[in-house]
Amino acid sequence: MAKAKPKIQGRVTFEEDRCKGCGLCVNACPVNIISLDNNKINAKGYHPATVTDMDKCIACASCALMCPDVVITVERL
């Protein structure tokens, strides 16, 4: 993960093996930076959620509020 640059406002981390690939966080993100990683399969057998462009994260926590499996931690940088 890239080092914090001044313009970065937020960082989300996924406890990836808990993710069920439901996509609720994908739709909740206002800056559309979350997607399901189709190249990966986690321990549960799902395509886990991942962030494509962390620089755009605004630490709004919308993704975490919608996650039914408490996979996501959100930090403000």
């Binding site: 937020g10 069920k20 439901c22 609720l24 630490a59 039914p68 930090e75």
Partner: protein, 248 residues
């Protein structure tokens, strides 16, 4: 750097068995967060239902008790009367609370038991494979209503929040949903207010949460949120039906 969101101590680390995108998980988290924030986690005793939340005792990080189908309010009554200093809540589905357990919830409210109930209305019997519930919408398909619920045959869906709000012993009644971050925040506020009613010794409280069952509705988790908003909210209006100031 500041943590904006992290997992509550109100939940254990056990991974839930819920289907992907099932909103039972969101409501569990809100209950856990509220128990922690109100400082009652260590004195809380929850009563789990029969239904998909039957394993809730593994997920809430407090003492838990299992109840026979629909009987959680009766079990909670006994616990609260023996342990009035503890915080006692039930977590029940619509098959559990609005069907087989209707007598228990009505009379617990009527007696003004100082317990709190989280009522998950997903308009279906989830655990058993999608049978029609009293809350299933007219026209909604279920395994026992393959052509959709027929009003002439089964009547209209029951509105639990409105019904319980007519009972004097019920001091807090609100209906919420969890289909967006804004709704999740409102739902948490309602659960907190409801739990405070018990802590302040004012009486019975219930929060009805309109919830999804993507698996038995035959929709993706995201489609299920939209279906809930388009079909359930018009029939089951959101909002507060009763809070202590208004009844005293």
């Amino acid at each position: 750097m500041a943590i904006v969101f992290q997992k509550t101590r109100g939940l254990t680390d056990v991974e839930t068995h819920y289907c992907p995108g099932c909103t039972h998980g969101i409501v569990h988290r809100l209950v856990g967060e509220v128990l922690e924030e109100l400082g009652v986690l260590d004195i809380a005793i929850g009563v789990a239902p029969v239904g998909c939340a039957v394993l809730a005792y593994k997920y809430f990080n407090c003492d838990m008790h299992e109840a026979a189908h629909g009987r959680a309010p009766a079990v909670a009554t006994g616990i609260k009367r023996v342990h009035p200093e503890n915080f006692v809540f039930t977590y029940q589905g619509d098959g559990d609370l609005a069907s087989i357990g209707t007598a228990e919830i009505v009379h617990a409210a009527h007696r003004g038991e100082k317990i709190s109930t989280i009522f998950i209305n997903n308009a279906i019997y989830g655990m058993t494979g999608g049978q029609m519930a009293p809350t299933t919408l007219v026209g909604q398909k279920a395994t026992t209503a393959p052509y959709g619920r027929d009003e002439a045959h089964c009547g209209k869906p029951i509105r639990i929040a409105e019904m319980l709000a007519t009972i004097d012993g019920a001091k807090f009644v609100e209906r919420v949903t969890v289909t967006s971050p804004a709704h999740v925040r409102k739902a948490k506020k309602a659960i907190k207010e409801c739990f405070k009613v018990q802590i302040e010794g004012k009486g019975f409280g219930i929060v009805e949460v309109l919830s999804t069952c993507p698996t038995n509705w035959g929709l993706t988790p995201t489609e299920a949120l939209k279906w809930l908003e388009d079909n359930m909210i018009p029939y089951y209006p959101l909002g507060n039906f009763k809070r202590p100031e208004e009844v005293e």
